[in-house]
Amino acid sequence: MLDEVTAVRDSGLQRIELATSLDEIDRLDAELLGKKGAFASFKTSLASLATVDEKKAAGQALNAAAATITGAIGARRVVLAAAERTRVLAAERLDLTEELTAPRRGHAHLVTQAWERLEDVFIGLGFQVAEGPEVETDFYNFEALNMPRSHPARSGFDTLFTDYRDDGSVLLRTHTSPVQIRVMQTVEPPIYMIMPGRVFRRDTPDATHMPVFHQIEGLVIDRDITMAHLAGTIDAFTKAFFGGAFTSRLRPNYFPFTEPSAEFDIQRPDGTWIELGGCGMVHPNVLRAGGLDPEQWSGFAFGFGIDRMARERHGVEDIRDMYSNDIRFVEQF
């Protein structure tokens, strides 16, 4: 029997060495070591041996041979598996630049992109965001902003009126400033709020004007707020939004709802200036209209166009392109 074992072992080792596929190895494994394999039958025939010593000797030889075969199969399997992996890897080569039409991401509107960037900067500066209706009353859009009916500055706003009420007192807001009043009426100071939104003017569309566009407005009301705080906030925004190398300045200007009023300019690192928006200290009449005592509270407000931020950033020469909803324009950004 020992000779038989030796013979099976040796021929097994030889076949293992010659095996060229994992399948072949698996078959050899079953044939030699499986439940119905050669070694299993040797094990069965151990019982027929006469003496304990014989059984012991044959058993040890059998185990040794089986271990040898097991080791050989394992080693051969590793070699063949590696070869097989190498073959598969070579065979499944892909040209990664062969891209068929793939699902594409959507594109946020340029106005939204600028809007959210601005919001994020102001949130970082400690502001919250307030919103208000786009269809407004004369009171919020004008009167509470220190522009009574007869105020000549009203004519500069090119207002669109609705038939919602017979007296023409319901209009499309011409600026985001009415939200200032709504905030003052509902929020207990201190107020650190920005108010982005859509505004409307009776303006013929051209490359730089749309009758419907977007503004962002800021309002701060607190104890002892000064004009230096206004300048400091504008400057902090300038650096946070445009970059540390940008600076800002205030120039006297006029708005009915602020006094002193200013225009704010941004200076690019190359020294050129951009006129950005208007600002000023909230007029005492406006504070009163918002239900606040100007002796107790002071504040500032500022505002500028969102669309223009988008235009300047992306070099959009004609603002009408931004509102064309032409997918060829939209998917650029």
Binding site: G106, H107, L125, G126, Q128, T226, A228, H229, A231, P252
Partner: protein
Amino acid sequence: MKLVLSWLNDLAPIGTDVEALSSTMTALGLQVEQVLVAGLTVEGVITARVVRTERHPDAAKVHRVWVDAGDGVERHVWCGAFNMVAGDVVPLATPGTVMPDGRAIEPRPILGIESQGMLCSASELGLGADQTGILILADDTPLGLPYGEALGIETEVVFDVELTRNRPDCWGHLGAARDVAGQLGIAMAPAPAPLAATGSARSATVELLDGERCPRFTTLVLSNLVVGASPAWIARRLTAAGMRPINNVVDASNYVMLELNQPNHAYDLDALGSSGFRIRLAGDGELITTLDGVERAMTTDDLLICDGAGVPIGIGGVMGGLHSEIGETTSAVALEIACFEQTGITRTMNRIGLRSEASGRFERGVDPYGIERAQARFVEVLRESCPDLVVHDGMIDARHGSLVPAERVTEVRVSEVNRILGTALDANRIEALIGPIGYRSRGTADGRMTVELPSWRTDSWTEIDVIEEVARHYGYEAIGKAVPSSTVPDSTLHGRLSGSQQRRRQLRQVLLGLGLDEAITESFLHVDDLVGAGLDADAIRITNPLQADEDVLRPSMRPGLLGAVAFNESHRRSGVSLFEIGHVYPPGDRVGDLPAEYEGLAVALAGQEAPAAMRVWREVAATMGLGARVDQSAVPAGMHPTRSAVLSIGRDVVGAVGEIHPDVLDALGVSERVAWLELDLSRLLADEPRIVQSRPISRFPSTDLDLAFQVPDSVPAERVEKALRQAAGGLLAGISLFDVFRGAGLAEGSRSLAYRLRLQAGDRTLTDVDVAALRDKASSVVAKLGGTLRS
């Protein structure tokens, strides 16, 4: 406003450093838009005397002119004008000269004879409109000189300044000069001597009937005047400031207006009925023909200047009447200087659509107490050309009770100045800043300054107005910069978005992630757009639309978004997926004064069918923690009758989902199907979503159970799924509909719905018994809905 540098210097010696003055003005709020140079002359044009002229037999339209430019050499030129004779001095453009219109003068032959230059008209040299002939200069003009030098033309530096509404005073040079001089610490030049009458008493009467619209109206009679041209320096300044010289009287009026911001008018005294004025409101429909030749109908809210007999001769503060101009033979005038109520001027101006140099100034406000100086200055200017002008005694000064007092004061608290500006100024410093521009302090007590408000600052009334002046002259840049931090105790300020604002961003990110592009479509529509989109025609109207076809506010984004689909389809981009988040304005009421405006979401998936919209809705609902009932029994307006559903939460309809009705698509010229979703975000973003609580993942193996049911078409799959979820209870780890099949082997009007349920327990491995029990339970719950389990 065009401010002439030499003129400013007459009023205050502010110097000629143009760059420094520009930045000073801009820092004061007088924004210098550009600096111009007026009176530049054409180089190469010299004076020459006509020696002789001669016609050429073959040239009908030109003749030959020989001129002498002072060097004794005769030069020959061809000339198309015939208004000169031998001996006249004319401007000669020598060869090489480039004219203002770009023409280069070259020795150009006509009929083979060269022209050695060109004789110039006034218009060709930019010296006025006259192009009827060659400019003839004075006989004693030296020859061979640049014409500018010979004519005494001087250049003028002009600041083109954009003025804000709160600076009425700067519509005259005096105001700007005062502001700049005050800033630079330079004293003003002395004002002209007060007016002194040189003639007998002679008045133009004033009957001030509606004085609340005209608080002050003065007349002064001047005689012995000779109408003619103004001296060159007056004409030059007017031209530099953008006004056309006309004659010495009109020029004097304009000069005074531009210098002192006092519009005024000189009426021919002889043409003035009853030698006087009556100021009254117009009758309804009363007609007047204004200076520009237009006949205008007045209303009872318009103020008329009439002559003593009541005949209208001008619209008060806006424009004179057609026959109010003085003539060449006028020798006596009534000089009218008045001030008008500002808002009345605005109303009249807006109603008749007429702006003039005068009305713009009256609207902003002129100094009611600057009239005396203006009268004196008018006389002074006119005497430059009429030295023998007689000023009659008997100036009429009609005033109405509404005239603001000559002296106005306001209290200014030093502490308030510093509280608003963030400065540490004391009363002396404040006075030093604003005293020079007319805000004189009468004294300070307990930190309260009593400040006189200058009569020319009709915009200035209150403490804050004065604080602004302090800020301007202190310098906005000097105020400094500080970032505020709240000093209010216990205030909890944090920069953040509100919950609904965060959810709006999240919603947008989900939609972008699904591959949708964001659109912003028109807010203004026409009723036909609504009807075309299958919507109700009722909408809020714009009463003064920019365009007639954009006269209603959108009650829905559907017309706009479908329009965008149509646009893209027509530009070879079919299959676009668009969304819009924006306000819509349905006409219904809400509490308060305003319509029920709300923020909505609209999604249009071109080339896709209803399930695509449902997928978007499911994704939005899942990520935002929303749940809504999909009710296909109700068909939203304008949508596909069998492929649409209303979305509702409780009793509230919050949206619609499905496909656009093919009729609507046909009307819009869209050839693709369009899957559609619209939501009312005011409700969906406001609701704080339920926050998902974590559930431990079971360590025990799961098992899948596939069940197919035959279900009548009338039973929504959603209900089947819901029943299965309930049946599986806590053992359900997931459920998906993996096959829908209609056809062979199924009852008419039914379909097969195949679900895969992944089952798993948290505390044990499920057995065949568990699964069998669940199968039975599932079978029975679906049976209650009318479905049968297929084996």
